[in-house]
Symmetry: C2
Subunit: 271 residues, 2 copies
């Protein structure tokens, strides 16, 4: 199922600025029992992104209705919302009165190892670096070629995620996830002031950590800190928390240390 | 006129990776007397971009035929080719055997002051910075949100272009053009190893400069060097060379010093 501006449609106008320039945002939401567990967080982030890009926010009630209708009766799946600046003339200049376009699509749940949360997944390091310092840091915008190039680096289905560094060689996160390191009772996660996406699951983890006795530090993290961590995990709103049991072939322990955090985030809507 | 994969169509599939991730490239070409004057350069750059993104290059003969048909009988205009990685499932990972999609559209020539090349245009400095150090430097790819945000900074139709700095505060170029500074018989232009687009017109200028007695230096250029230039210009394949007669309200002289270079590039296909 795909809809464009609320009407079932498989196509959209070729002059859409989402296609022409990546001029827009997206949200990838987990569907569970006919609803989106973290809907308010997704809508809040979308609103923040619209404000930063100068994009009119769609009518909230209409959008909620549309999202609700799309996942009604769906036991499990993924709902992706793309919001673009709509059609426009050729040229970077945004239309003076843009008519943003919503593209909503329903997808199957990702194929994930059944016991990924309990056992952990394998990850690798990507060589593709993330550019730093532009105006888009933290946003879930449509300019995702860096992630595409990073994800193209491996095809082994046994590798669940690739970790990315920024242009200066500090850790940013996974291609589609945020990254956390647990060490001596403190959770460390990369700051996202220069690049990266501020994930909905990341936000939830930051809130839940104190509830399970973990202090959180957001800072620049060097890749050699990975090996010294008591436990590592990546997360997003669709897969939840994925402990890492291996990075670049090096075994990583500590999955069991994350059990309380996993429980706390599940109680708040992560899978 | 818009065509998708050679067939007249105003829409394209919503699962196109150009829309979903900006996973693709584009070329904006000037049409003159039913042809594209710099066609070989555009196709060469497209080929380079395809190689860097791991995108299969469309069949060259078919593409040439399609471009030729699109501008047949058109006295003047702009032909835009968007080449995406085609449709794909949700997720950053490119399809194993992508079927790239071509979106070709015909546009009117931009409204330009009639004597822009002789008299120069007015430019301003943008506050939007370009991120540096990723894998996309130099490419004419579809991730153009930074340029969109920069172009959104002004609406005064008397300002023809905005100049952009990278995250470290060095000059990169205009939102849609490359930048050159003339000083003491040497042409200086920013290196594009960290961000920016290697324009077709820029390449032509680099080649023509020695023919008119100008040495060229590609290097990092600080914004305060603008005021010390004997002449300044921006260029792209559609508008050609635009001398700057004013930057941020400061008058800039030297337009006449560029006359030989303008003549030489016109002889090679710039307008």
């Amino acid at each position: 199922m795909t809809s464009v501006d609320g009407i079932e449609a498989a196509t959209l106008p070729a002059d859409d600025r989402g296609l022409q320039y990546g001029d827009g945002l997206f949200e990838t939401m987990r569907i569970a029992q006919g609803g989106v567990p973290l809907l308010e967080r997704h809508l809040a982030r979308l609103g923040d992104g619209c404000a930063r890009l100068g994009l009119p926010l769609p009518d909230a009630a209409a959008l909620r209705g549309e999202l609700g209708a799309a996942c009604a009766g769906v036991a499990a799946g993924v709902l992706k919302l793309v919001l673009t600046r709509g059609s426009g003339e050729r040229g970077y200049r945004p239309p003076q009165r843009p008519a943003p376009r919503r593209i909503l699509s329903l997808h199957p749940s990702p194929a994930v190892e059944a016991d990924a949360a309990a056992r952990g997944v394998r990850a690798r390091s990507c060589t593709t670096r993330l550019a730093i310092g532009g105006p888009l840091a933290g946003l879930k915008h449509l300019n995702r070629l860096e992630q595409v190039l990073a994800r193209a680096e491996w095809r082994d289905p046994g590798i669940a995620e690739g970790l990315m560094l920024d242009a200066e060689g500090t850790l940013v996160g996974g291609t589609m996830t945020n990254l956390f390191l647990l060490r001596a009772g403190v959770l460390h996660t990369p700051t996202l002031d220069r690049c990266g996406v501020a994930g909905v699951a990341r936000g939830l983890v930051l809130e839940c950590a104190p509830e399970v006795g973990l202090r959180v530090e957001q800072r620049r993290i060097a890749p050699d800190e990975l090996a010294a961590a008591d436990a590592l995990f990546v997360c997003n709103a669709v897969v939840g928390i994925w402990p890492l049991r291996e990075v670049d072939g090096r075994p990583q322990g500590g999955v069991e240390r994350l059990a309380d955090l996993v429980r706390a985030t599940r109680a708040r809507g992560l899978p």
